[in-house]
C-alpha cells in the first residue's frame, strides 16, 4: 500500500512537471512595468535632497533669534 502511494505520488509529480510553463501575458507584463514605473516616480518624488544653493538658509525675523534669551 505504501509502495502504491509512493508510485501514485510519483505519477502525480510527473504529471505536474509535464504541464507547460505558463507565459506571462503581454497585458500583465505591461501592467507590472507601469506599476513599477509609478513606484519609481513615487520614490524619486519623495527624495529630499539638500539645497546646495542656500546651505546657510535660516529664517530671519525680528521675532526669531537664536541668541539665548535672558530676562534682564
Amino acid at each position: 500500500m505504501l509502495e502504491q502511494t509512493a508510485d501514485a505520488d510519483e505519477a502525480i509529480t510527473r504529471l505536474l512537471r509535464c504541464t507547460p510553463a505558463p507565459v506571462m501575458p503581454p497585458s500583465v507584463l505591461a501592467r507590472l512595468r507601469s506599476t513599477i514605473a509609478g513606484e519609481v516616480a513615487l520614490r524619486n518624488a519623495s527624495r529630499v535632497e539638500p539645497d546646495d544653493a542656500v546651505p546657510d538658509l535660516k529664517p530671519t525675523s525680528p521675532l526669531w533669534q537664536d541668541d539665548p534669551v535672558t530676562d534682564a
Partner: protein, 199 residues
C-alpha cells in the same frame, strides 16, 4: 542558500546578477527593478497563476507582490537566492488575496493564459493536442485542491524546492509542507485517475 534545484532552469543571462540588480535598485537605479522583474516574469506568473487559479486574481496578486518587493528590497539579506525571496513575496501576496476573496468561486482559466512552448515537434499535431488536453486537465484539477496544498505542490513539484526550503518560504514546518504535498497529490490522483500515464 535556499534555491530551487531543477526543471525550470533560468537561461544564462549576460549582465548583472539578480543580487546585483537588487542592490542597484536599493542604491537608486531606476531601471534595475524592472529588469529584475522582466527576467523572472514567467516564473513568477507561473507561481501566481497556479496558486490563484484565476488570471485576473493572479495579475492583481503579482502587482501587490511587485509593489511589496520594490519597497522592501532593502530587507533582502542575501541568505537566499533573489528568486526565492521573490517567490516568498508572491506567495504571501497570493495568500493575502485569497483570504480577501475566500468565498469567490474559482473560474476556469481563459484560453490565452496557457499558451506556451510546444512540447512536441510541429509535425505531430495529434500528440500536441493530447499533451495540451492533459495539461488542461492537470491545471483544472490543481484548481480544485486547497490553496495551501496548491502552493506546496507548486514550490516542491513545479519549482523544485526541497521540502525544507519550501517550508521556509511558506513560513511553516517541513512536516506541514510534506503533509500538504501528500494530501494534494492524493486529491489530484483521484481527480486525474482517468488519465493514462504520461510519457
Amino acid at each position: 542558500m535556499i534555491a530551487p534545484t531543477f526543471r525550470r532552469p533560468i537561461a544564462e543571462v549576460d549582465g548583472p546578477t539578480d543580487a546585483q540588480l537588487l542592490a542597484a535598485h536599493v542604491a537608486g537605479d531606476d531601471r534595475a527593478f524592472t529588469l529584475l522583474m522582466e527576467r523572472h516574469a514567467d516564473r513568477l506568473w507561473a507561481v501566481a497563476i497556479k496558486v490563484m487559479n484565476n488570471a485576473e486574481d493572479a495579475a492583481d496578486a503579482l502587482q501587490d507582490a511587485m509593489i511589496s518587493a520594490f519597497r522592501r528590497a532593502e530587507s533582502f539579506r542575501g541568505d537566499a537566492a533573489v528568486t526565492t525571496w521573490l517567490h516568498r513575496i508572491v506567495l504571501n501576496a497570493c495568500f493575502d488575496r485569497l483570504r480577501r476573496i475566500a468565498a469567490r468561486r474559482a473560474d476556469p482559466l481563459p484560453d490565452d493564459i496557457e499558451r506556451s512552448a510546444e512540447l512536441t515537434a510541429p509535425d505531430d499535431p495529434e500528440a500536441s493536442a493530447v499533451q495540451a488536453d492533459i495539461a488542461d486537465e492537470v491545471t483544472a484539477a490543481l484548481g480544485q485542491i486547497g490553496a495551501d496544498q496548491r502552493a506546496a505542490l507548486v514550490l516542491v513539484d513545479l519549482e523544485g524546492y526541497s521540502i525544507d526550503d519550501a517550508a521556509r518560504i511558506l513560513g511553516c514546518a517541513p512536516g506541514t509542507v510534506k503533509s500538504r504535498c501528500s494530501r494534494g497529490r492524493a486529491r489530484l490522483a483521484v481527480l486525474l485517475q482517468h488519465l493514462k500515464e504520461v510519457n
